[in-house]
Assembly symmetry: D2
Homo-oligomer: 342 residues x 4
């Protein structure tokens, strides 16, 4: 971290700053610019608040030199991480996977939908048993019974299951049921007790970006999980909130190459939530694939107008068949030497 001091910084104030830095357990390295003093903070600066430093009277600007995330940082881990999701399914590096299924687990239609998405080429099954809903009066999910239905479907079809966890008190239940991948949703993107709790397991975590979360903050959230000991984090871009109202969210696909540049973790994109409307899911699934995502998460329902949640953005199984065919063509186009799909 570098602090650039104001031109008129007086000596006593500078000395105070230097001793403050040393009290924080860091070394201060002073260099004289043409017009201003530059103070480098050397050591572990992750505990230093740059806002505080910048608010000091003699400080003009503060600049981080190194990112505050370490374990998620490609600089310290140049090779792509490949996460093993169970059932022989790996994601990251050259491994591209499509996660599909209904928004909510609703009952017997789960297995019907699961068979269709498997037949179309999806390699992981999604479905929500615990649902975060804006309204307390909206359907909140089947809970543990939903987990059972998911696990049965995963077993029958030999597919890892991805399902959302919202409450740190549920982690043991998810482990007991054998959930393959725990998903953390946008609203819990900075729910630190939950991040820490899943970090204490070794189950892969699909971590969605929050609606107002910067890319750096997403990586810091991954760092929470990893710093507790769980390296199996899959990042997910699912749209951020902006002024545009023609779509449910604004799909920040730039985040795909940016995250791949900054981090070694697998990056998945969710065109269902990022658009909010069935008609835009396929083009944006193709776009995310072309942008270099390691995987996609897509909502599929066999009767969208009967869906308990998010029917507006579901593909039917037939639409999903078409979409998967085109995704495979895009994958072939960008990886002509043959990255493996599933």
């Amino acid at each position: 971290m570098i602090a650039i001091l104001k031109k008129d910084a007086n000596r006593a104030a500078v000395d105070h700053l230097l001793s403050w830095i040393e009290k924080k357990g860091l070394q201060a390295h002073v260099s004289q610019g043409e017009n201003e003093l530059i103070v480098g903070l050397v050591g572990d600066t992750t505990r230093i608040d740059p806002f505080l430093l910048e608010s000091m009277d003699i400080v003009e600007r503060v600049q981080r030199v190194s990112e505050p995330f370490k374990k998620a940082n490609r600089k310290f881990h140049p090779m792509d991480t490949v996460v093993d999701c169970g059932h022989g399914v790996k994601i990251g590096g050259d491994h591209f996977q499509v996660i599909a299924g209904p928004c909510s687990v609703e009952g017997e239609n789960l297995i019907r939908i699961a068979r269709r998405v498997k037949a179309a080429g999806a390699t992981m099954l999604r479905g929500g048993a615990y649902k975060p809903r804006t309204s307390p009066y909206a359907y909140q999910g089947m809970g543990a019974a939903g987990l059972d239905l998911l696990m049965e479907a995963g077993t029958e079809l030999d597919m890892p299951v991805v399902t959302e966890i919202m409450d740190p008190r549920d982690v043991q239940l998810f482990l007991d049921k054998g959930v393959d991948v725990m998903q953390i949703g946008a609203r819990n993107a900075q729910n630190f007790p939950l991040l820490k709790e899943v970090g204490k397991t070794s189950t892969p975590v699909l971590l969605k970006r929050g609606m107002a979360e910067s890319i750096d903050e997403l990586l810091m959230a991954a760092e929470y999980i990893m710093s507790e000991g769980n390296p199996n984090v899959i990042l997910c871009e699912r749209g951020i909130r902006t002024f545009e109202t023609r779509t449910r969210n604004t799909f920040d696909l730039n985040a795909v190459p940016v995250l791949r540049y900054l981090s070694h973790l697998p990056v998945v994109a969710d065109p269902s939530h990022a658009t909010g409307y069935t008609r835009y899911v396929e083009p944006m699934a193709l776009a995310a694939t072309a942008a270099g995502a390691h995987g996609l998460e897509i909502e599929v329902h066999d009767a969208p107008d009967q869906a308990w949640s998010d029917g507006a953005q579901a593909l039917t199984p037939d639409m999903f068949d078409d979409c998967m065919r085109r995704i495979a063509l895009i994958r072939a186009a960008i990886e002509p030497e043959g990255g493996e799909c599933a």
Copy 2:
């Protein structure tokens, strides 16, 4: 809820829609506009997803008629709610309160700071024992020992204590310690398990707006707490996230009169987080007061450059003295007939 159908909607599709509405337990009331059919959905529409309805082929637009929040809605509760925070301190209606104290509980300085803010006119004491931090490597708070220090200070000074809760597993501890007001922070604004858990108590909840949370969603989050049985919700505007980087957040002070118009709940503003820099806290505290807030939450520290968190936005006790004098003048200006302060 009103659905406006497309001009070319065919009869069979309209009939399908009408029977879909009835299966949801609602009545459909059809009226013929000049060019389009208008379908009113009559009954409890809180479980209807307007996005799904709008995604149907024959539907042009959907418009909610009534807000999805009920218990927080001024329409159904025209009088201002006054929340009793303990120690004889009430907020809402004509009762205006200033909550002040350090960002984090750090130790023995708490009581020194608390005495100063009390002397200056603050009526409630804040301090964080559990801290949500972007980095897992940053200071995470004193935990239960911090709660003890807070409660001791509150007892000594006869002030209710406001402190943040992040984990639903901590609710019983907060109750056991006798915390007067549980604060839910921006990052947990839509942490529904936490909202439900504090909703099962009768302890007042200071509910902060999320960084990308719309005003309607904030009211829906309040609804989560209220629908579990706890009517004692205090709303708090603390800045939203936008493109502007000269301040830590963008203080959406419009939210103060908008929330007062839409809801009967008390509305507090937090100029410390909403600006992020000490130098802007006083003018924005005055602005929030003039906008009609029922209270302010302000961070005060007697040695900001030694603060464990957020020193950049802390007022010193001397600055706070000045700020309180001006706040009182603004209060007098907007409530000349004499709304009571504290």
Copy 3:
């Protein structure tokens, strides 16, 4: 347009509203919902301000039924518009084009760069002679001399030239020079005098989306041009402004399928400005192609670190060669029956 009245609207106020509507030259069509009166405004509602209507005491909500754009609306013009840009180059429908060249026209390097982009498969040449710069002290462009260099290059290489116009007083000059496509930049996205002035010509206009411009407003800006008589409008998504700072802008690629759904006009995407960094241009160019854009605008410079502007986001000619090869593969993947490229 539909106005939903409040439940307790009194008769006199309703009558006042109905007569107000009729004075505006519209018919009011009243229908009784279960709980509320619904008033349909029939006729040309483009001059009615929905905010005003909604602010009236008895009005609960207002909903537009039809979009305020007419000429740009696919509903009234279902077939894709194909714009003829000169030199035999058409864009829109099945015609996909890549516009490439340096950010600024700088001098003799223009023709060198132009030859390279043409050789790589670009079909239109870009270059700025008039540059909108945030700082008055930054380079402002070569002006008319730059137009001459561009036109010479276009003639030599038989390529239409795309260049930015910022001032309505320059339209005649652009016509005199024979500029093939006039580009309107993000900062002039709602510069209505400029939009009207280019609308009086028949020269194609490449209209970029403003940094805070909604999709509907972009289409209204196109409507300004079209309503003056010029139907040759090409829409361009170039990134919007959000809280994310790891990229120069947030590339709203959702806008590509949304604009294609709402409008018949060609839709181009600009991955250079939308990312701001060379390293992200290729993946996002591929993503935009996969999302269904009718074209791309890409900045290419043979010595980016010497570029007079925006070198940070330029591809070198060699990088552009690679990028074009992959773009062609993506095009083939999404249009297997063979949409024509150039």
Copy 4:
């Protein structure tokens, strides 16, 4: 400007960078941090693109030391600028003014409204003769005839007139008519030809912030005007665009103290556009005053439901009377020693 180099930067690349800096007419001042090389760019860095520098392979981060605005910068002009708007009305420093009048000049009602706002204490008259409207089919303003009506009212009431200019071709007309203050609206906030053209006059310019314009960019836009020779710039916060839809814009009142800190120019706030609804105008006018604005711009209409534009946010003259009384009380509260009003 400071460039922090990557740890592994090789010598040849560093030398290339240093010579690049020198070719730009700057000096490079190298200092060795503990782990990284720091290069200071000394001289006039206003022409250096920090994005380009940051995109270079060996560069880790770039940090501006000094703001790119000079003439608008308080550092180089510590005293508040006071702008003389004519008719003896000054704004800035201790001079606080209220600008009021209808959104659009519509005809004979202008003088009626003007008399009322003058009687209530407004000191400047606003009214739009040239109107930027999202729709080409909406009312576009009376044009030159509207300017005549405005100037007549200003003369009769001895008030300076503020009115919007959208087209650089209109500057001479505005001068000929004797317009006292030319307003530049949000949509033209970065219309550089217009900024330059008004910069060539000495008429005061009220410069509104664009909907996605950062505070720094607003100051750079002021710099455009000032660098042409016109020092009479008044800055105006009128709301920015965010995800919140309960108000027309998000009023970034933080900008008031931030602009006062960074610049010496007068800062005005516009609660009419910043809220969009009559009911929120007064509380936000008071808030802006308390935040330290040098003035307010408020829309007043005697028959809002007949207004040709923006009736939804207009105060009636009676409401304006009340609002002005409260504004005076707030002014007295924050400036007890007696800043002068009008």
